[in-house]
Each structure stands twice: as structure tokens, then as C-alpha cells.
Subunit: 446 residues, 4 copies
């Protein structure tokens, strides 16, 4: 078994890993790198093409597969979940692997479809929806390729751990996850199947080590649910506006917002393009329990029109909208710039069911937005949120369950991944022998 | 109305405030200051007398009341709740106020009784148990003294906000609290009565400003409950020991530990003197729902005897014990020093349902203890906890509800209290006019 | 003596204090508040008028002097030094005090003149240059107004502590300073005179408490000088560009840059408008020892022209330029945006003799700029700097020397000023009696 | 060339590296690990034997050399400098390599001799003093072993970079260093020779990466010198005591303390065992310029006797003493515990020319000591110090000069070493190919 660590081993973003057994290669994820995307957006001389994305290092440098002679052996690209740092590069690079089928759960594939459509990509690869807790066997050059997709929990719908049961041993791809035994929507992780695989033997585990240096558990989604309930119960004023903003792909969170939002007796409006995109994707696959209880307004003109109503009857609506990072063009950004008919006033409520992503651009944008709104007298409730990556405790669990022979931490800088090596020491792994730090573009043989 | 800010206005600890209206003085709280206590314990030349406690500044400097000529006017000492930084100095200073009756809820008084008994104090003041959400009228020199005790939530049983409805206006004492609308034991704060008082008019509010600089909500006890449930579900090994440690006075937390602990099917043992003291106090007043489900072992000899059983049959028991701060002489401290028949082994579980109190002595003690246990291979789960002081959000709520004329932040250093002044600005208060920073030993007139 | 704390008591910026003795008022400083200025610049509907500066809270709210009936009693506005948070509001508010003469050292007045000229203000107040370590007596309604200007050290030229020897006692204004006993240009603070004043008795001290919470000494300018020498000795490459950037008003630093810069054998070019402004002001008053050793290029067209030479012969020049905070429109900003004929290349050197001012806008701007340049391979040397405000140690010294009766910390938020109250406790001051925290717009009587 | 990374690759401490070329092995350093030493001291059942040092992991695990069959091939143990994390384990492990000569500069060897004598070790290995900027050729099994010792700067006397010019290429060992071009005692680093070696080609560089994640230069010893001068000029009171404490092995710092101390006109007394040990070692090799200007008092009885004088005539002496980390048994520790005839009083001066080593035991000990002394009114000046490890800038320089083929960061945890990998990327190194992260006990082949 050879593993090429294409991307995501030195940064948070552009995750991509290729595994070769015999004459067959399976690729896991192909995501974007946000800082590169932002640089590209800032550069008026560039558009959203593969060439420019590569120039800004916004997508994984998968040209290495050409050098290795692996490209024409890629039989499948398996996408673990619907986040852009895992699926976002697929539209731009899949055509380099014409023989590869794209595999993902229904929600992941729905999001991929939306990306392809939005960017008007001429996408030719075969796409196939997989089920979680199911297996799939592809035809390979060196025999059948047995893939399995194990349900896990993270912070969007239908996340899986893809597993390749190969003739060279079992490859287990554990990006991204936070074990949540008490999810508020959907099922807990499939521990049973993981234990079976652990007993049968896992050769290599690639694992989300982003918070491997953090001892404290983040806690499951129930915590966010409780914080949300508290936030709603202390939102003031019958005649005051109530806005909530969160990650658009976080359907479970949106479900909780709707659950408690309903108690206000207000009509619930979802506003913003990306919210519409993800919620519709969830509904298309019948995974959006709150769909009929909300009204979705996606496009600028309608948004502006509706905000005129909100301005007049602010006590009548609960608005769930985009803009938790104060992103340019988001609903919150446009409102605070004065570009909509609605203006925040003293006493209005704004709940951020999110944390600030610690990149300078977000920090400064949110700082400005928060300051502006507080000066007006808007009541902000911030950090009504728990994130979706396991800490050291969760990593102990996966090691305990899977007992893999080899471990490769991923999903961060070397400094962020290094604590996973220390943790592995606790379990008897030896650095350089059974635990490994890889940079992007390496080949490891097992 | 004159207010003397005796203690707790420049540090976390030794809270004490006196209020004078006419010829009558009411004192609110009289607590200890932990760093002073530790210095005293470190000094072999000193014992636990009033004199030495004063020398180490471990109790409030209430001699100022003599200078002011207030001492013989003190009609009552009202204790807000059972924590030592609020009640701990009472046994040493109450005799200075022979005319004062000591008032507190049943749990608070039970804890005071235990302190008096432990230290063999010859305590002569009259003691009277009050009910929460009730009023009491004392006879005063300048007319009746109408006191009210409003139920609130914090991190021990039967916490109240004492209120004095005086001829000079209403004095509201809001130390310590975290508004928890969804407590897991007992009732939420009595908002209804607070709103009534707010409407009727509050002259002065003294308020717990410890976390006034922190925007993020700590979250209610449900959060800790959920974290605990997760921690128990990931405690490994049928044949492995499970120990849990938390604050002994936190009956609600102990109740949650028992609730999830029962699921392990193990016998639940409470170990340690202070645990016994608080749990028995809670049971005496019929506020300990789990009392019959646990066995309490308080004294060294019995503890050692029982730990011999645990050593042999570690899978049979769930031990709840003292030592979350690795305090000298606590159960965990003695075990890790090898002074008991029980030794931790690889794979045993230890859950800290607490955070490290950020004083150097605790930090270093816990650092040593944690390191030792991790080296053995004990699985520590730490910070399974939320603390009991409201953040900026909770303070916004109390201001919104009570709308007091004057605000005095307390329960921290000036730097910790200063953000409350900024927050008050949001509500239109003016520093030096309607919001006030006081050091210890000042008199403010309203 | 009555003191009105007009501005700078709740933030870093817009310093302004008025002192009234009898029927005479003296104002000390009138500066701008940078975040307000940035908001104003961001708002296309606003220009640089007094009205809009007030709307954005970018200048002190001195309208309070009208309310107090003090405005027509203002005899002088004394400016302590040339920084914009002390002098920047003078052009916009001085006309409200037609009877007030503006007093400042030659450098300060030269900078004020430049501001007035730049903004084309119709400035009518009388201006008078004062000398440091000198006195001046003005005619007042209630007798002569004896002012003294004591030389101190900070981070620009000719800084003074203004002192008013009034019939009500001595008022000492100690904003801003860092005692530097070994300055690399100019003289150390006039301790001798301060000691005399201390002995004679100081009634009130207003003091720069920005770093009162920091125990460690920042160190004098010699430290920066040494760091600069190291930075120059490790700038690589005879054929590579060398750029240095620092605070334009910091003439002592610029002198050190030139001193070590000369060793490179390159021609030294100063580039940028604000550099030209301050260096010319220094030269006009014969306080710019390096003036003949550098060439100053101020305006865009000439800058672009000259940068064409630098591009071709990058080993020939040492460029000292604006842009240490990556300010929009600065030389560094324009170069990195590609708006000049010069482009940074791998191996070029850029030395930041400055620290990042910790406001979000600077942090994000510098983050972007640094990242861009590092990606190209430019060798950045950052933080070759010591700042100009004394820490706790320096504050101990001033208290020890002056032994004032009353202390009022200034130049920060209440949280930043609060540690000065603790420090004053060490010296026996009592909060609320002899040490005072004031917000903006208060009147204190002594 | 094979390199065995024995110790110091996962922690700060117990540095030890073995290099094998042909049938010859050279070992570089053999130091102790302080946390292990402290654990050993805390454990009454253990003494200072090799066995117990190994049990507490306080010395490098060099038993691996037996497993590799390298032990009997060790021809030399080269010690880079006199710090205990480099030389401290030599007395306990050298006997395992009977054929190895111990090599070090005169100061290093003098310190080693003192260790051997103190611990009464029966030390049999041959010892040979080397000169810096010199070479030495040993007879090896596979030909002559050409060693070179290049002078560098750090924070003690006579530090070298040992280099092995082997038949397999040049091995360069760069632990520990901070390039100081302007030392205040001794010479700057031998850049000339380094550049020659760089040109001739370096195969492997092992490098002190402790601060590879820190961009800002620490600055050279001149900075500390300047800070010291400031500290002395602001030490108050002719009749007050002045104490200074610093690292005993830091002869350059001690020289600066004496230089400025003399200005006080006081008699300079050095107090404490370890101060005596290092100063005498320096003097024995004629590297102690201040020796005749100070009086050294080493032993408890004399110390107590002399402190009686200091107590009486506190204005007469300047005391330089041990205890900068508040170590148990140090002079400062004993004084503050009241175990000596001298007591600190209000107004006495204590200058810490050191920083707190960030281990919990030091932090808490210093916290207690500082608090005690401040409460008395002692004037503490802390952090009058710059440390002796280069930051990212210094590491850029060594890479630029030596241009080694392979880089192995050392002297920290993996997280502390990982930023060196990023830095190496800037220079075109590739992780896993030309830049390497090793844990303890690995063998790398080049």
C-alpha cells in the first residue's frame, strides 16, 4: 500500500490523499484552501479557473500524481463530507481523472452538484451516490476494490469515514469528525462497525488531528442546542428584531434554531444564497425536517423586498441569515453597510451561532461589524456554538477502537499535528515507525 | 443610605458589605480569602484564630465598622449562600456584633453550623433560617427592617439575592449568581419577583462582576450534565477503576454525577471529609435527592479500609472523591502519594468535573498530579465543568430587569470590575455618578 | 483646583484635560482618536470637519466646557508633544477658545503648523513656542498663570511635562513618557527639576498609565539602536534592496537608522509624505542631525520616478519609507499592490522598526502585507523596536520623585488604568481619596 | 553516515546525539532533563545514581547504543558547552564508553570536573581540553577522526559548534546558540570559518530550533547590559540593600553586573555555592575579568555570618546571589524563609537578571517569593534579561551560511521543532527528504 499525502497535511484546507494498492488508486477528498481563494478574489487579474486556483495554491497540488504515474490509475474519488475543504476542488480537478467515479453520500453529492452548476463546469466524471454504513465494490485493475462508508458525526449531514478493505490491508480515512453519542439530528457514530474493523485489523489510519493538542472535550451538539435555547430565552423585546446566523451547511444546527425559534411565535425566514443552497440540498434528499416550517429567500431582490417588511414589522419575523463571518456580500454585511431597506436599531437581537474563524480577514471583518452594531445598541449574543472537531479525548477513543498499525495525523500544520504523535506515544506507537508526520506531496509505503 | 464596602471589592474573596439606613446596619456576607488562608497554613507560627486570620488578611477588615461607629448598630448578618468566600469568616467575626442575628437559607446555615462545630467556636449570635422567596422583618432602631430573599442560581444549594426594602430605597445584593433558566435540580431564578422590584425601583445594586469582561455565556448546568454524560460514556474498561471529583458544595453537580454514574451499574461511594460535610448538610434539609443511592465514607481510617476493596474489585465501584485541586490531604492527593492501599493503574479512569482555580498553588499541584497519573496511563478527563458566575450577557439581563439607579460591581480586582462600568455605559449609566468602583473599606452615600 | 477629564480617560487617544483655578482655565492637549478617524475615512458621506469628527467621536467631547461655563475662561492650550493623539484635534477645536494661546515646543508647533496647512484650516488663535526646561507666565483673570515645561523622554522630539504652579497648588501633567536615562539623541529627563517640584509639593499628578499593568521595563532607545545595528548587520546581499520603515515622528529612531544605514555604503532615501513632514519640521528647528545625509522624496510622482532607479540598481540605495502599519496609500502599501515601478524580489530586505499597533485594521493589513512579501521570499525583520511608554517600574519612579498628593491615571481604558491604582496602594494612596479613576467628562475638585 | 538521536529531540533537556561513520562513533553532548531531576529529588526513596536517573528519565536513554552495537565504537564524547542539559549526564554515563575521550573547552571541562568532584564520581575516562576555533584529530578504526570546534555565542563561556569532517561528509552540530555580533565579553561567532565550511559543503546540520517559531530577534547581550544599567540607575536609597540574582554560569552577565555594580561604590559580594563553582571555574581558565573585584562566599556558615554584616550595613554591599528561580536552598529562598540573619525591608532593591523558566515548579516558587517580598515593600526589578537561543532570524542566518544538505531540528518538543521545518521550506528543503523531524532513539542514515 502506498499513500500520497497530496494536500491538507501542512494546513487547514485542500485535503486530498491518494492510496495505491497494486495498479489501482483511490483518491480521498479534494478540497479548497480558503486563504488561497481569498487571495484569488482579491486579485482582479484572476478568475475561478483551475489555472488560477493552482497559482494561488487554493487547490491541492495533485500534479504529483502525474509524476508518480498514478493519474490514469485513479478508479474513484471518495468524498467524506460536504464541506468545501473536502469537496470544493472536485469540480476543477476531476477531469484529470477521466476513469474515476465520484463517490459521496446523497447530501455531499447534492452539494457537489450545486457547485458544478454554480460555476457552470463541464463536468464529465461519473457520479454515484453512496449510502452510509454500506459497502461498494468497484472493478479494479488488480482485483475488486472494496470500499465501505461508516457513518460518523461532525458538523454537517451524512458524514462518513471511507474505508478501503484492500488486499494490502485496511485503509481507514477519518477526516473530519467529532464523536457525538447524543446527536440532536441523525444517528451517533457507528461504533459497532468500527470495533469490528478494529478487531479485524486496520493497517493505516489517517486522522483529523486539528485539536490533538487540546485536552478539553468540545462537547456534542446538545451543548450548542442548550446554549441556543438560553440565547432565545434571553432575546428581548416583543417588538424588536431577532436575527440568527450560523454555518449554512450545518443542518443539525439549523434544525435546532428552528426548534427554539418556533417558540417565539414568529415566522421563520431563511435568507441568503448559501443557506438556500444547503437547505435545498438537504431537503432534496429528505433530510431537512424543518423545511416546511421556514420560508427561504435566496436572491438579492427578494431579500431586499422582504427586509422592507421586517423593517416595518420587526416583531413578526425571526430571520436566519448568512454573514456569521461578516463575509462581503452576505446578508449581515449588506444590512450593516446600509445596502438594504432594513436597519438594525437599539434593542434588536442578533445571535451568532458560530465562532470567528481565526483568520485575520474574518477577525477584522467581525470586529468592525460587531463594533458598529454594538454602538447602535443591538444586543449581540456571540459564540452560541460548539465546533465539530474532536479534541485529544476523541482521538484517544478512535485509537482505542481501531488500534491501527500506522497513524498519520492530518488536517493542520505540522505544529497542530505534532501533538497527535505525542498522544500516539501513550498508546505505544513509535514516531517514524508506526506514527508518521507527512508534509504535502509525500509518498509513504506500508 | 450609606454603604461600606468592607471586603471583596479588590479581590476574589472575603466578601463583606455593610449598609446603614438611619440607625440600623445590615451586613451582607462575611467570607474568607483563600490566598490568606494558604499563607496562614504555611506559617507554622500561626493558628486559626481571628488574630492570625486578620494578620494574613484572610478575613475582611471589618474593624472599619468600629471606626465608623456602626458596629453596635448591626442588626443582622445576611449570608447569600454557602460558599466559604461568603460565609467562612462568620465564625470568627460575628461575636463582634452581639446584637446581630445571622440569617441564611437552611443549607447555608447547615454549612455554617458545620464550620462552627469543626473549629470548636464558642458561637453566641442568634441564628435564624430564612426561606428563599420569602421576606422577614426585623425590629430596628429606626423602624422595621424589611428584608427579602430572592431565589437565584449559582453553583450550590439555596442561593439568594438578599434585598433590603428600606425607608431610603431598595438595596439589592446580587452576589454570586449565574442565571440558569434550565437548572437540573431546583428552580430557575425568580425573575417574576425581580421584575416587580425593578418596576418598583431599585436604588443600589451590588453585583457579581467577576466575568463582566467575558462576552461568551458560560451556559447553564445542563451543559455540565451533558459533558458528564459524555465523559461517563467514554470511560473505558469493565475491570478498570472510575473516579470522579468535583466541588463538594455543588449538590446539583453531585446529583448529575450520581444520575449518570448509576448507569455504570457500579456501587457509588462518596469519599472525603468535605464531601460528607456538604452532602449531609444537604440531606439534613431534605435537599439531597441522591442520598440513599450513595454510601459516604468520611474518615481516613474507613477510607483506607474501603480503598483496599476498590483495589481488589476496581470494576465494582464508582468513587466520587475530594481532590479536584490536588489539595494536600485530599483523597486524590493521598492516593497519588501512595499513602492509601489503592494505587491507580494504566487504564483506570479519573474524571475532573471541575476546572483548575487559577492560583499558582493549584496550577502547580494539579500539574504534578496530572503528570504523575498520565505517566502511569490513567485516562484523565478534565474540565467536565461549567462555572457558576454569569458573563457579560447575564449582567445585561440583571440590569435590564432591575434598572437600578446605582451600580457597584464587586467580586474581583478593579481590573475585573472595570468592564462592568463599560457595560453600564451601554445602559446610560455614568461612571462616578450612577456607576461606582469602590475599593475595600470605602463608604458611599446615596 | 477643578479638573475636567475631557478625553483620553477611557481610551488610548483624544487626550484632553482642563484645569480651572479661580477664573482661569488651562487646557492640556487636544488629540484625535484613531478608530474614529478610520470610521470617518470609511464613510463616504463624511469629510474632515469638526462636525463629522465629533459625530465619529474622533475628537474630545469638549462641549462640556460650555456646559461648565469654562470655555471663555480658557487662557491657554498647552500641547505636551507632537503626537496626533495630543495635538491632532487642536486645528478643529481651538477656535472655540478665542482667548487661548496655543503653547508647545518648537517641534510640536511645527507639526501643528503642518496640520493646519495640510487641512487648510483658517486658524486664528495666537501660537507661541515655548522652550523645555523653561517657565512662562500668562496673565490670568485671577492673577498670573505660572506654567513650566519640564523636559522628558518619549518617542518623538521635544516632549515636555507641562506644570501649572497655581495658587491652589501644583498641577503636574505627565502624558506621555518613558524615562530614558541614556537617550541616543537629546537629553535625559530633567530629574533634578522634578525632584525640586516633588520636594516643594505636587497637588495633582495626571499620569500616563497605559502600561501600569506591565512589570517588565521596555528599555530605552539604546535597545532599539542595538536591535537596529543587528538587523542591518544581518541584511543580506550586496545586490539586494534594503528598505526600513518606522514611525515618521520618531526622529531619534530615524537618526539611528541613518547612523547604521550609512555603514551599508548606500545612498539613504527617505520616501513618503509623512516622513517628509516630520523630518522637515525637525530640521526647521535645527533638531535633525542627519538631514544632510539623506534625500527626501515626498510626492507620488517623484517617488515613482525614483523607485524606477531603485528597481534597476537595488544595491545602491537604502530606502526609509512609510507603511509600517501597511497603511493604505503608504509607500509599502503601494509597492506591494504593484502600483509602483519597484517590485520586491526574493532576497530583498525589509526591516520594520516598529510594532503592529494592536487594532484589528492594522493587524489584518500587516498580516496580508507580510504574507505577500514572505511568499515572494523577501526577508522581513520585524519588531526592531521598543515603545515609548513607561511600564510599572517607570511609574514607581515618578511617584517616588514627585510624591503627589493626588494621582489620576490616564491614557487608556479603565482596565488599563486600574493597575495604577494598585501600584499607588503600594505607596500608601487610597482609592477614591488620593488616587482616582475618572471617565471622560468628569469634574474633580481638589 | 548514521545519526542516532538519543535525547533532546522531544523535550528541552537531556541532549545527546551519536554519529557513526564506518566503525567509529562520536557522541555529542550528554545532558540532564530538569523535570526528571526534580522528580528524583522529590522521591525520598531515590538517590543520585545512574539507575535512579534512568528510572526518572532524567538522563538520555543511551542504552540504545548497546542495542545498535555502537557502544564499543564510541571514540569521543564532545561537549558543546557547560550547561547541565549538555554536560550533566556525562559523569553518570561516560563509564559505559571506556574507549571514549571526553572533549570540551577549558570552561566546559572545569564545570565537568566540578560535577565529578561534587558527586564523588569515580570517573575513569580520559579528558582532554580543546580550544575553540581549533581542530583535533583522533585515531579511529576507519581512519582519522577530524574534529573541529567553531566558536559561537550563547549564554555561557566558551561555547562551540563541534564539527566532524568525515569521509562521509561534514556533520555540523549547532546546539545551543544565539548569534551575537556585539558580545560584551569574548568574541563574536566565527562566521568566517562557518562560511568556508558552508562553501565546502555540509552534509547534516543538527540545529537548536527551540525558538524557531518566534519571529522577533531576542537581541544580543548588549540589550541585557543596557537593561542592567537602567536597573542599577533606578535602584533607590543609599541606605537600602541591593541584591542581584542571575544564572550562575552566565559569566558575561556577571561581568556586566560587576561593571555597573561598581558604580554604586559598594563592595560586591558573590554569594552561593553554584555562583562560586562557575566563577572559580572561569577564573581557573583566566576568563573571569572581574574576579579580583568581587568577594565570593560559598558556604552556608560564612554566608550567614556575612549576611549579619549586610543586615547592619545594608548600604555598604552589593550582593550577587543565587535564587533567581526561587530554588529551594538558594540564598534568596533561605533569606525569604527567614533562615538567615538578613531580612529584606521596605525599600530594599532586588534585581532579577533572569526570566522565570516556564515550568510549574519555578512559576509557583517565584510567584510566592515575589508576592512575599512585594508585600514587605521590596522593590523588585524583574526580567532584566535576554535569553541565549536564536529566534527564526538567527536560524535563517545559519541556513544561509552553511547551506547544509540535511537539517535536523533539535532542543525541544516536536511542536517546538516543527516551525523549523516550515522555515527550511523557505529555503527549498523538503520535509522527509532534506529536512527531518526525529524523536528520541531514532537512527537516520545519510
Amino acid at each position: 500500500m502506498e499513500i500520497c499525502t497530496i494536500g491538507g497535511y501542512e494546513q487547514v484546507g485542500k485535503n486530498m490523499t491518494a492510496v495505491k494498492v497494486g495498479e489501482d488508486v483511490v483518491v480521498f477528498d479534494a478540497g479548497i484552501y480558503l486563504p488561497g481563494i481569498i487571495e484569488l478574489q482579491d486579485d482582479p487579474s484572476m478568475d475561478y479557473s483551475e489555472k488560477h486556483l493552482r497559482a494561488k495554491k487554493a487547490i491541492p497540488d495533485d500534479l504529483i500524481l502525474d509524476k508518480l504515474g498514478w493519474s490514469n490509475k485513479v478508479r474513484a474519488i471518495v468524498i467524506s463530507h460536504a464541506h468545501l475543504d473536502h469537496v470544493g476542488a472536485v469540480p476543477y480537478i476531476a477531469n484529470r481523472y477521466p476513469n474515476a467515479v465520484i463517490l459521496g453520500t446523497a447530501f455531499t453529492m447534492a452539494v457537489l452538484d450545486a457547485l458544478i452548476k454554480d460555476e457552470k463546469i463541464n463536468f464529465k466524471n461519473k457520479r454515484q451516490v453512496i449510502k452510509d454504513n454500506a459497502t461498494l465494490t468497484l472493478k479494479g485493475e488488480s482485483g475488486p476494490i472494496k470500499l465501505e462508508f461508516i457513518h460518523t458525526t461532525h458538523s454537517t449531514l451524512q458524514c462518513v469515514f471511507p474505508v478501503w478493505h484492500s488486499s494490502d490491508g485496511t485503509f481507514f480515512y477519518a477526516l473530519d469528525f467529532k464523536f457525538d453519542d447524543y446527536p440532536t439530528l441523525g444517528l451517533p457514530p457507528n461504533y459497532k462497525r468500527m470495533r469490528e474493523i478494529g478487531k479485524a485489523g486496520t493497517k493505516v489510519l489517517i486522522v483529523d488531528a486539528l485539536y490533538s493538542g487540546v485536552e478539553k472535550r468540545p462537547g456534542g451538539e446538545r451543548i450548542a442546542q442548550n446554549l441556543l435555547e438560553e440565547a432565545f430565552s434571553s432575546a428581548w423585546g416583543k417588538e424588536k428584531a431577532i436575527f440568527v446566523t450560523t454555518f449554512s451547511s450545518h443542518i443539525e444546527r439549523l434544525n435546532n434554531i428552528v426548534k427554539f425559534g418556533k417558540r417565539t411565535g414568529r415566522q421563520i425566514i431563511f435568507m441568503g444564497r448559501s443557506l438556500g443552497k444547503y437547505v435545498n440540498a438537504a431537503n432534496n434528499i429528505k433530510q431537512c425536517p424543518f423545511y416546511k416550517q421556514v420560508r427561504i429567500i435566496q436572491y438579492k431582490k427578494q431579500v431586499n423586498g422582504f427586509l422592507r417588511n421586517v423593517e416595518k414589522s420587526r416583531g413578526k419575523y425571526l430571520i436566519v441569515c448568512t454573514g456569521h463571518q461578516a463575509e462581503e456580500g452576505s446578508i449581515l454585511d449588506r444590512i450593516t453597510r446600509g445596502e438594504t431597506p432594513f436597519k438594525f436599531r437599539a434593542g434588536d437581537n442578533l445571535i451568532f451561532s458560530s465562532s470567528v474563524i481565526p483568520a485575520a480577514v474574518n477577525v477584522v471583518a467581525r470586529d468592525k461589524l460587531d463594533r458598529k452594531l454594538r454602538n447602535i445598541g443591538v444586543r449581540l449574543q456571540t459564540d452560541i456554538h460548539v465546533h465539530g472537531h474532536g479534541s485529544r479525548e476523541g482521538l484517544r477513543e478512535i485509537l482505542q477502537i481501531l488500534k491501527p498499525t500506522h497513524i498519520i495525523p492530518a488536517h493542520g500544520s505540522l505544529e497542530q499535528e505534532a501533538p497527535m504523535i505525542d498522544l500516539a506515544n501513550e498508546f505505544g506507537y513509535k514516531f517514524g515507525e508506526t506514527s508518521h508526520l507527512a508534509s504535502n506531496g509525500k509518498v509513504l509505503k506500508f
